[in-house]
């Protein structure tokens, strides 16, 4: 468990952050560029001294302004992966990977074995290369391996995909998923791309103008008004988590969500897997009678929780689909009036299966 409560003033910008990240699991720190994410990374890594606060990992206090404790960055054993990889250009890939490993204190435990990390990250063919011969995605994988082999207590990933184009992100994302499912480490994943967060994280910390504005599980955070302010109204959508029941004959995964079963396109899905799906609010249709003979695969009975004004002539309807599954639907104000949508009204949410994309987690639900 990582507990952060740090304050730092730099010129006009004041950073005041407090959040926690469980072991294991990915906690995404999500915010716009310039909201203080990079400064936060430097503070946690110990590369920048905070003004005050407290930083604890497990039972170890790394920083405590009241007790005047401040552990140097080199002793924190924090695996940091930077946006620009920061591989050492004069060393081979192997020497880069071994850099932290060689500097471990003799008595330190070494649960991350060289060969395991190399095979997990698919680095076998890169070992003998020089760093300038690597592609952007390969560089980030080597940086991940280098951080892991230093036997970290915590992984701190600072937008590791931000410098890659969309195609190259696929060279790294599957490895991040494997890593998350293979090791029992707290992982803090800083990002400004919600699709990455959806794919990797179960907990989200929302950062805005140097402060934590909301913190919680991804389903709750996906409906938070602060997130809407960050991603914009078109990208708003409730995240729902469920378990794959089975795969149907056409290759769609049947996923139990609340009281309903959704069909979701999910490559390589296996029954029993836990998945996260984001249902974009603008992709949800609301009906007040059970619909028949429609092409829509997913018809979820739900109860209206609230109807809030959204941008322009639209409202955001929050729908309770049972068993804590909540959906958001963005419809026009006029439609909401004609359907007389008021709290507690029974409705049906219609979601096109092709608009859904799920992300699997290979760890059992906790």
């Amino acid at each position: 468990m990582l507990r952060v409560a740090l304050r730092k003033r730099r010129g006009d910008f004041a950073l005041d952050i407090a959040f926690s990240a469980p072991t294991p699991g990915v906690t995404a720190v999500f915010g716009r560029s310039g909201c203080g994410k990079s400064t936060m990374i430097s503070l946690i890594a110990g590369l920048l001294p905070p003004d005050s606060g407290r930083l604890v990992v497990g039972d170890d206090v790394w920083y405590d302004s009241e007790r005047r404790v401040s552990v140097d960055a080199r002793h924190r054993r924090m695996g940091v992966v930077f946006q620009d990889a920061r591989l050492f250009p004069h060393l081979t890939v192997r020497a880069n990977l071994e850099y932290g490993l060689r500097r471990l204190p003799r008595e330190a435990e070494r649960p991350m074995k060289f060969d395991d990390v190399v095979s997990l990250l698919g680095l076998e063919t890169l070992i003998a290369r020089r760093t300038h011969e690597l592609s952007g995605g390969e560089r980030q994988r080597v940086a991940l391996g280098r951080a892991l082999l230093a036997q970290p207590r915590l992984l701190l990933l600072d937008e590791p995909l931000a410098s890659l184009d969309l195609a190259r992100r696929e060279d790294v994302l599957p490895y991040l998923e494997k890593l998350r499912d293979a090791f029992t480490l707290p992982i803090v994943y800083v990002s400004h791309q919600f699709d990455e967060v959806l794919r990797l994280a179960t907990r989200v910390v929302l950062l805005d103008a140097g402060r934590v504005v909301a913190e919680g599980d991804i389903a709750t955070m996906s409906r938070d008004s602060h997130l809407r302010a960050i991603v914009g109204p078109d990208s708003v959508g409730a995240v729902v988590a469920g378990v794959v029941k089975s795969i149907d004959a056409t290759g769609f995964a049947l996923v139990r969500i609340g009281d309903a079963t959704l069909s979701v396109e999910l490559e390589g899905a296996v029954a029993g897997q836990r998945i996260q799906i984001q249902v974009l609010a603008r992709d949800v249709i609301v009906a007040t009678e059970a619909p028949h003979r429609l092409s829509v695969r997913n018809i979820v009975p739900a109860r209206v929780v609230s109807v809030r004004r959204d941008v322009g002539r639209s409202v955001l309807v929050e729908l309770d689909a049972g068993r804590t599954a909540t959906l958001l639907a963005r419809i026009t104000t006029r439609a909401a009036d004609e359907l007389a949508l008021t709290p507690d009204k029974q409705v049906w949410a219609l979601i096109k299966a092709v608009s859904l994309r799920g992300h699997a987690f290979n760890v059992p639900e906790r």
Partner: protein, 233 residues
């Protein structure tokens, strides 16, 4: 071309003086370059200007100041002479010192430019991986500024071969002790019938300069390959 004893003396003396001047220079130049790029202190600008003085002062003035400070009766030279029996003025070591002072700004400059180009982020990364300050310098910074150090050393060596004013002022023109190639050339020109000798010495200097440039080009290419420049992906 066979060299006369006087010519080969001058040649070897030049090489030795230039080599020793580089050896004097490097540790101090690295320290000064480090101070100027990585630290902020009061009087930094003045210090920077002071380091660059030899570039703008007439070499004779540098030689004169060295004589005042390092002469047998000077504050530093007197102390060295009394306590260690070391005499710098009018010796080949003195010639190397004068040469070192003249080329000092060149070396500082070369190292400083490469230090400024070292990404601090790499040192930060090394720090999170458990490397202490000295370790970071030895394992990251030093290898990355090696081309700059080498470039500075080669430039200082080449410039040192031709240092004239400061050497003749501080160390005089003593055959076999401080009469380097340019001093020998100057002496030949002052001598009746010295034209042939002067021409031969000029040719030696020219070949030496050319060889130096070729070696430096070769080294920088080799290092460039090692650091992976040249091929960009």
């Amino acid at each position: 071309m066979m060299l006369s004893p006087a010519e080969s003396d001058a040649l070897w003396l030049s090489l030795s003086v230039a080599a020793r001047s580089v050896a004097f220079n490097l540790p101090f130049a690295m320290l000064v370059a480090w101070l100027l790029t990585r630290t902020r202190f009061a009087g930094r600008t003045l210090f920077d200007a002071f380091v660059h003085l030899p570039l703008v002062l007439p070499p004779v003035v540098v030689g004169y100041l060295l004589l005042v400070l390092f002469g047998v009766r000077g504050p530093i030279g007197g102390w060295l002479h009394q306590n260690f029996g070391i005499q710098l003025a009018f010796t080949s070591t003195g010639a190397a010192l004068a040469t070192a002072v003249m080329s000092f700004p060149l070396v500082v400059r070369a190292i400083r430019i490469s230090l400024e180009n070292v990404d601090h982020g790499l040192e930060d990364a090394a720090r999170t991986l458990g490397a202490g300050a000295l370790d970071r310098f030895a394992s990251i910074t030093l290898p990355l500024i090696a081309p700059g150090i080498l470039a500075g050393a080669v430039t200082a060596f080449a410039a040192g071969l031709g240092e004239f004013g400061a050497v003749i002022t501080f160390a005089a023109n003593i055959p076999g002790e401080t009469r380097t190639l340019p001093l020998a050339l100057y002496t030949a020109l002052q001598t009746p019938d010295g034209d042939t000798l002067a021409a031969r010495l000029a040719i030696i200097s020219l070949s030496l300069g050319l060889a130096g440039l070729l070696v430096s080009e070769f080294l920088s290419r080799a290092i460039g390959r090692r650091l992976g420049r040249g091929r960009v992906r």
